[in-house]
């Protein structure tokens, strides 16, 4: 498996800080901000960004995590994922400003699922999207409000985002794809960076 680093730890740190700044600047401190990360890796990134925003604002920013396995639109084709991650949206999101955080934005289907799931938790005033990497090739009309880096991904490769909690390092790489599909009928092997 070939791996080619696009963003190392230092650059990622800078990008995450910039995203936090953009999110903080976009509206007032009393906007009821909640930052919700999409499982997996989106949640870890969300924690980092929320921490940074909290420092900028001088007050805590509540976070949450969403696992969208049960809201996918392709369940009928690919079947159940045996491991469903934790969904924890403890804060009531009614009337609040929610920023969804995900690691890679690709087809847009994950975000569609996340929007559906979030709406089951309440009617927020506003939902925005923040992604670390946008690799284009959308299949749905979905765009991110805050983008870390735009990348073009050559055929046969995919984007791999690593976070210390799960992968032991903080970086973004391009990886030559082998059998990349986590949804096939094999015991759950983690695939870095969902492709959607």
């Amino acid at each position: 498996m070939e791996k080619h680093t696009i963003m190392d730890e230092t650059e990622m740190g800078r990008v995450l800080d910039r995203l936090a700044q953009e999110i903080h600047d976009a509206s007032s401190k009393d906007d009821g901000l909640v930052i919700v990360g999409i499982q997996r890796r989106g949640a870890e990134l969300a924690e980092r960004i929320a921490h940074s925003v909290a420092e900028l604002r001088g007050k805590p920013v509540p976070t949450g995590s969403l696992d969208i396995s049960l809201y996918r639109d392709d369940f009928g084709q690919i079947g159940p994922r045996p491991v469903i991650g934790k969904t924890d949206v403890a804060t009531d999101i009614t009337d609040r400003r929610v920023v969804i955080v995900d690691d890679v934005l690709f087809t847009g289907r994950t975000i569609r699922a996340a929007l559906h799931e979030l709406s089951d938790f309440g009617r927020s005033r506003r939902i925005e999207l923040c992604v670390l990497v946008d690799r284009g090739e959308r299949q749905l009309p979905i765009q991110a409000d805050y983008v870390g880096k735009r990348i073009e991904v050559p055929e046969g490769q995919h984007v791999s985002v690593c976070v210390p909690e799960l992968d032991g390092e903080l970086c973004v790489s391009l990886v030559t794809a082998e059998s990349q599909n986590a949804q096939s009928f094999r015991p759950p092997e983690r695939v870095n960076g969902k492709e959607e």
């Binding site: 396995s69 996918r72 079947g79 159940p80 469903i84 991650g85 009928f185």
Partner: protein, 325 residues
């Protein structure tokens, strides 16, 4: 049979029993049940994952609790559910189980949850229709989702099942709940015993790896987990025990008997309870009882099972891979 394949953990098309499941499979089901517990705590207790799927609850034996538990599970997964109840044997009703199976197939039902009075009925149906079949209790054979929720409840309390001493007390002979629990517990490495009047302990149970305790006092002293089975009125009427009162005096789980129990021993019951027969109210409602958590876990476990069996056509997986999702 052709039809939808099972989950990535290799359950196959149906869940007919726990006899042949591996430890990994059982734990995978329990792990999958965890996120489903969370959904039942939400305000909107519904996820769209089984939207558009048709599930038939085919109950040939009366049952309120199990059927309602399945119905909640199905509806919380956004499936469309239909309840069909029927009492009496196929012969009495005039429509054989084979014909019922054919009708279901003709209606293109996605999943069937079946409860039936004959051992083997779930397998019988599963072999004849392409729908996923879930056994909600067949005769005296198995009641897999009950045992799974029991495993989850024990695991929640103790952290693991390995090495746990679990004693099942009561009418083992006629109990599908006992059989399913025995399979699951043995597979997961628990130490299993049964206790009850000899007339209600089945032939050859020790050959399965289960020990037999003759007195309930011994069972209580020995156990980490006491699983109390319901004693049905018919058992007295068929002469297995002289009277329900006698049964309560000799085998009843009473607070006074629990004095010698380990501090962390818990009491389970599959419900519905015959208060004052196999279990006294002060135990059923007492601090050791996890009977209500069993019920909560029941919906989550059933959601997990439905989720793991449903969906997933292999040709779709290939298409999904090719299209890059």
């Amino acid at each position: 049979m052709t039809g939808t394949t099972g989950a990535a953990i290799g359950l196959g098309k149906d869940l007919v029993g726990l006899e042949d499941l591996t430890r990994e499979q059982i734990h995978a089901i329990l792990d999958t049940a965890e996120p489903f517990k969370e959904i039942s705590e939400r305000q909107i207790k519904k996820v769209p994952v089984l939207r558009g799927q048709t599930i038939v609850n085919l109950f040939f034996e009366p049952s309120t609790r199990t059927r309602i538990s399945f119905e909640f599970a199905e509806k919380r997964l956004s499936a469309d559910t239909v309840n069909i109840s029927s009492t009496g044997s196929s012969v009495q009703k005039g429509e054989t189980l084979v014909d019922t199976a054919r009708n279901l197939e003709a209606m293109r039902i996605d999943m069937v949850v079946i409860r039936h009075g004959s051992s083997g009925a779930a397998r019988f149906l599963a072999d004849r229709i392409p729908s996923n079949v879930i056994n909600a209790g067949d005769g005296q054979h198995e009641h897999p989702t009950q045992a799974l929720l029991d495993m989850l409840t024990i695991r929640d309390r103790f952290g693991s099942l390995e090495g746990r001493k679990v004693c099942i007390v009561g009418d083992i002979l006629h109990s599908r709940v006992a059989r399913s629990n025995i399979w699951a517990l043995l597979t997961c490495g628990a130490d299993v015993a049964v206790c009850g009047p000899k007339s209600l302990i089945p032939h050859g149970i020790e050959d399965l790896g289960v020990s037999v305790l003759s007195r309930v006092e011994d069972a209580i002293e020995w156990s980490d987990v006491l699983y109390v089975l319901r004693l049905q009125l018919e058992r007295m009427e068929s002469g297995f025990v002289p009277s329900l009162r006698e049964y309560n005096r000799v085998f009843g789980v009473k607070r006074s008997r629990l004095e010698h129990a380990a501090d962390d021993m818990i009491v389970l019951h599959p419900g519905p309870m015959n208060r004052g027969v196999e279990i006294d109210s002060d135990v059923a409602d007492g601090p050791r009882s996890v009977i209500l958590p069993q019920v909560t876990n029941g919906v989550a476990v059933r959601m997990a099972v439905l989720y793991l069996l449903a969906g997933g056509r292999p040709e779709g997986a290939e298409a999904a891979k090719a299209g890059g999702a």
